[in-house]
Amino acid sequence: MRKWIAGAALALAAMTGPALADGHASYPARPIMMMVSYGAGGATDFQARIVTMTAGNEDALGMPIAILNRPGAGGRVGWNWFATEAEADGYTLAAYNVPHFIAQSIEGGVSYSTDDFEPIANWGADPAVFVVGADSDFDSMADVVAYAKENPGGLTFSGAGLFVGHHIAALQLEKAAGVKLAYIPNNAGGAGAMRAVIAGEVLGGVNNLSDAFRAQAAGNVKILGVFDLERNAFLPDVPTMKEQGFDIDNASVNFRGVMVPKGTPQEVIDRLAEVVPTMFENKRVQSRMEAGGSPMAIMTRDEVIGMWAARQETLEELLAGL
């Protein structure tokens, strides 16, 4: 027994020794954890599991990435933990959702902002779309806005919560169309908001393109417009808001990617920034993402830094009136 313990201790020393000796050159030396601030089964969780599944390959990080869910309060719980308690050693990553965390940091009451995180790479971009029930009288955004003009504040439409992409899209629509709408945040997230539309509890809703695409395929909803700069490959027939005469940009598009806490060693950030985008480009990852109806948008660290800064500016302006 004693011999066995001694052997185990030696083996352990052998394993950790090199890692301690030559600093970060052998990073990663053990499995990595990635925090997702939404529950298991949500779109972010689902996609995070797919895009990290090849991390253990020799040509990628050579170590697996395990997903850990810390859901609550629209992502605030997880990101608060990540900003204040997560160790900045490169073994704790997190998934980010823009514009959610930026909007929440502008709203206040949380202990993070863009300055507390270092982006690594972006994997996906899920635009918001406007949906109505399959048997609704509305056939275009013009119909929706006409109704809202007749009934100020009476057009009820659902979304996944306050200070998330859907809420931003709702604010942009109100501003661009010059009408007052009744945005109803749902406590059960995007799935709950979609249910409210299908059940006819609300007249319409803002939802994720990927979920709306499925609901439309199932014959439950009509998609009236995309809150993005261009039409989406999944929905080539659905016009953008701009095409329908509303001056709305892509500020509400839900960008998903990987980040680390501020203070992570620069060598580790460089290594991750180099390897992680290649993981996203893996053919197996791409085919799984496409099968699941999840639009991808791979961006490098520098591109994400620029995107975060641009969002910060737009959102500060948009949320200033609230």
Binding site: G72, R76, E107, N187, R214, G292
Partner: protein
């Protein structure tokens, strides 16, 4: 009868092997405190990446079915409900186990689970289109009234008096307000970083049920040196069958309540067991025996929580909306293979969809067989000396709370709630109403806020919450439930004097 046509696919060697693996693995995961069905299914998702869609779903379906039933094992033997679905099982099940009837309790719970579960899957097979409409019928106003109905149950649930039951429920409702609120994101009562996400139900459950029991075991060890020997009674499986069939009312109420409530998105799974327990208590001829190790309590609770499994998948399979967290994880398992659930699912992928449903049906039966097999062995847990038992339960409680989201904060929450509950129990309060308050609080609040936002934008509060047959039906049930409790209170004068409390305390220790 498509489901019979594809039944053969379940029995190919690989598929059946996976079904066995999912069932046995699910029972073990379900019996582990802290591993809820949602987490168990999420843990298995990576394995399905390598499998064919059909095989992956067989594994997930079998695991979902048997984790729900496996939760009864720790609820009965250790008084740790692994998930909210098993709370009601502890009330009578654990009392039976401490009397040496653990084997009987486990056998009853697995048999009742199988009956409820098979009924639920048959509902899924035959009535899916009808049920889909029902799942959509519950809007914010209805969910609000449903949560209020749950609150009225609180008073009569396992307490020495209605007032104490309601008080415990109020403590639960208060605990539920801690953290960021679900809709507005406002911060409430956050006095320590570990509760910034609110009180997670699973650590709370473990703490409230297991810790008082651990403390009681430790104190007992100090006072009496001669540890009592509980003789574990053997219980032939044949008698368990007879017992389950004899308790038709409980089985019927449990199965029906579980199926109906299981359909309601977001609410069902958590309260189905408790509502069924309460209803069968009210309808039973031996209602005073509930809570003292009565077999009807176990049968009602367990048939309800497995009956909910089939119907809880209706919104996912027909409308492509996951109705529960577990269904959301299953949705991921489908999407990863490029299968979009919806009304066309059974047309486009009949082989996948029907084999999945068939595997849940066969899974229920396998689960029952394995469950009955382990029941006799597992019940010997009651013979473990108190000192050892206390240490094991404490270890499992810490492990279970930590594993929910790898957080020591949850362990602190579990420990402090548990110690608080120990003192509350000495004053005749009990954990079940408190947990029910904790679960119902957010449902009632979020739906009231959502409902009032919709109401203010459209028809106004009065007509939104008080029109429509479903609203009135729920309001009438609420009124009936309240008047029944008041009537029982007057009829029975159910309050505890100091002497009673002392007597109960002595009986417990």
């Amino acid at each position: 009868m498509d489901f019979l046509f594809y039944m053969g696919d379940v029995f190919t060697p690989i598929n059946f092997g996976l079904l066995l693996l999912g069932t046995i693995g699910g029972l073990i995961l379900g019996a582990t405190p802290g591993l809820s069905p949602t987490m168990a299914v999420a843990l298995l998702i990576p394995f399905t990446f390598q499998l064919e869609p059909q095989q992956g779903l067989i594994l997930l379906g079998a695991a979902y079915t048997s984790t729900v039933a496996g939760g009864a094992v720790s609820a009965i033997l250790l008084k740790i409900p692994g998930a909210p679905a098993n709370i009601a099982t502890t009330l009578d099940g654990h009392t039976m186990a401490t009397k040496g009837e653990g084997a009987k309790a486990l056998q009853l719970s697995f048999l009742a689970s199988a009956v409820g579960g098979i009924f639920g899957v048959f509902l899924l097979i035959f009535l899916t289109p009808v049920l889909a409409q029902w799942a959509l019928a519950f809007g914010p106003s209805h969910l609000f009234w449903l949560a209020i109905l749950g609150v009225t149950v609180i008073g009569t649930l396992d307490s020495s008096s209605v007032v104490k039951g309601l008080l415990a429920g109020c403590i639960g409702l208060w605990l539920a307000t801690i953290g960021f609120d679900d809709i507005m994101g406002a911060q409430r009562f956050i006095f320590h970083p570990s509760i910034s996400g609110g009180i997670n139900v699973i650590p709370a459950l473990i703490g409230l049920f297991a810790i008082p029991q651990v403390i009681t075991m430790f104190t007992k060890g100090r006072s009496s040196d001669d540890a009592e020997i509980i003789s574990v009674k053997r219980h032939p499986i044949r008698l368990a069958f007879v017992e389950v069939l004899r308790r038709k009312t409980a089985l019927f109420i449990g199965t029906i309540t579980g199926s109906i409530i299981g359909l309601i998105p977001g609410v069902g799974g958590q309260i189905a067991g408790l509502v069924a327990y309460d209803q069968s208590k009210k309808f039973s001829r031996e209602s005073e025996k509930f809570g003292t190790g009565h077999s009807e309590g176990v049968i009602a609770a367990e048939s309800a929580n497995n009956a909910m499994v089939g119907p809880s998948l209706v919104p996912l399979l027909t409308l492509s909306i996951p109705g529960s967290p577990t269904a959301a994880v299953l949705l991921g398992g489908l999407l990863i293979h490029g299968i979009f659930p919806g009304p066309d699912l059974f047309m486009n992928y009949p082989q996948v969809a029907w084999t999945f449903i068939d595997s849940m049906l066969i899974g229920q039966i396998l689960m029952c067989i394995f469950g009955l097999y382990i029941a006799g062995l597992a019940a010997r847990v009651a013979r473990v000396p108190h000192a050892v038992m206390a240490a094991v339960v404490l270890g499992l409680a810490v492990f279970g709370s930590y594993s929910v989201q790898n957080s020591m904060g949850d362990v602190y929450v579990m420990a402090s709630l548990g110690v608080g509950m120990y003192f509350l129990e000495r004053f005749g309060f009990s954990a079940a109403p408190l947990v029910l308050g904790l679960i119902l609080g957010p449902i009632a609040e979020a739906n009231f806020i959502q409902g009032s936002m919709i109401a203010n934008a459209t028809v106004g509060m009065g007509s939104y919450f008080f029109t429509g047959w479903l609203n009135w039906l729920l309001i009438l049930i609420v009124l009936a439930s309240v008047s029944y409790s008041i009537w029982m209170e007057i009829a029975q004068r159910r309050y505890t004097t100091k002497d009673d409390a002392v007597a109960k305390e002595e009986a417990m220790s």
